[in-house]
Symmetry: C2
Subunit: 307 residues, 2 copies
């Protein structure tokens, strides 16, 4: 199908990944109390799904070594989902002990990327997730599955859409309820978005309602890609307050799509009306003093530049 304006969804689910994906990729240690203020401000702004932390090994990602403390101490707002990334059973145990009720697992469409990133093949990463997802679902925990490098890989270059669909099938078969297709290095343009989504639509085995998109703004195309995905009927979009996270594969370049920029676009389309954009800027402002660079969100910078 072609993207059309009439396909725009009537409502959008924004998955705020700043506290996890964002802070994981900033080379700084943020005090736990500041993280909690950040998360609580994001919820106060109206964001209803917040990936709060990751229960990875504290040695691997010291930035998130306070995962349990964060998850246990959030002043929870009714109706808000506070999720966490979980790499394995040990991580799941820690997540459950901290009161986590929604988790995400992380793999990739590129063998080389998976090998570099988690020292396993894609098949091995999926096999590792099987008991994690089984245990989570037995406890009534929602499970999201990230497929990174869905549009391109820093080691392999272009990734065949079929490979993304293959990994998607495997994750759904394992019990994942929502997918997030990630443009890890920010190379996607609208044509690639159309081609990948059309493959999923033609395949028909995974409803569009289970498919989210996770764009990086490394080359400035994230919002054009979002608009295209919306015109294809996608209604789940990941973003990171302030654009937190940068791009590990191009230091100094932008990474995650900024939540402020996304919401400004969406509100212009009549979507995301319940979110208070000024309060998202305020959330980013809590973290900004700790960063080694200015937040990459263009809306944030414009808001801060106003007299």
């Amino acid at each position: 199908m072609e993207p059309t304006w009439t396909n725009l969804p009537v409502a959008v689910k924004i998955v705020e990944v700043g506290p996890r994906d964002g802070l994981q990729n900033e080379q700084i240690q943020i005090p736990t109390a500041i993280k909690l203020r950040f998360i609580e401000q994001l919820a106060d702004a109206g964001l209803s799904v917040i990936e709060a932390t990751s229960f990875v090994s504290p040695h691997a990602i010291p930035q998130l070594s306070d995962a349990s403390e964060v998850m246990q101490n959030i002043q929870r707002k009714a109706g808000v989902e506070y999720s966490a990334l979980v790499p394995n059973l040990k991580g799941l145990e820690r997540a459950l002990a901290a009161g986590t009720r929604s988790i995400a697992v992380f793999t990739a469409a590129s063998e080389s990327f998976t090998r570099h990133n988690i020292n396993a093949s894609i098949a091995e990463s999926l096999a590792n997730f099987r008991p994690v997802i089984e245990r989570a679902r037995a406890d009534g925990i929602a499970v999201r599955g990230y497929i990174s490098t869905a549009f391109g890989c820093p080691y392999e270059g272009a990734i065949a859409p079929q490979q993304v669909l293959h990994v998607a099938h495997a994750l759904i078969e394992l019990g994942v309820e929502e997918l997030s297709l990630g443009d890890t290095i920010g190379v996607a343009t609208p044509r690639a978005v159309i081609d990948l989504l059309n493959l999923f639509l033609d395949d028909q085995s995974i409803p569009l309602e289970q498919i989210g998109v996770h764009f990086h703004d490394t080359r400035g195309t994230a919002l054009a890609n979002v608009l295209t995905a919306l015109q294809m009927g996608v209604s789940i979009i990941d973003s990171s307050a302030g654009g937190l996270g940068g791009c590990p594969y191009a230091p100094g370049a932008a990474g995650n799509l900024a939540t402020e920029d996304l919401i400004y676009l969406l509100q212009g389309l009549g979507l995301a009306a319940t979110i208070d954009l000024a309060k998202v800027v305020a959330a980013t402002s809590i973290i900004a003093p700790y960063l080694t660079h200015e937040p990459t969100s263009k809306y944030y910078r414009a808001a801060k530049a106003q007299p």
Copy 2:
């Protein structure tokens, strides 16, 4: 009409405004020889319309006080149009004497903006242009007309699309052959783009082939707006190498849409295939050392960050 993929133009005309609109809004003095290298590198990259300078008063905009020297000394590449902004008859005389064969005039859709910017009403600015455009056309000079604040004004806020159409009619009546609808403060989102273009389409008096769009990326939406305009059938797009120009109304924020980001999007759509993106980055690199800030183009930053 609704924007659709099938409306995408088969070819796009990019109007490179970095040497004029970009440098005019950077608070620096660039050596003339560097400007010439910049312009020649842009032409070498494949850009075929380059707004090279402005024949405004050197007192008003000292950054472009070398307009005659620039225009006279460009090593011209066959098939490339080197244009200049011209504010009045005196400026036109200087432009003609320097060998300019393509000019642009500049007004706005907002009365307050025109008053602040050129100390005249819109009607007065149009009256001033009448002899300029008559003289230019008598000499066989192509004339472009900028309509700034077409989506919003720093003093008035929202601008009625009818007001933009009104100014457009006046410019066309004066003999302008191409319009550029400018989002001077970068507030536009796709819905506003659709509404404004639909007004022009419904009006039917100005063919779409004469209408260009000039977006600022102040809030990150420029490329989503470009995609929408393309889906409405627009085929003329302004951009500035590196995103040069900033935003005078929000110091520190982004201004002009970056040529690199635009071309990366277009090439993903199968357009602008004759442009060498690496050479555009090289053009921006000529100016970058003179700026007081890093160029705002995300593609440029990603290209520079590559190992």
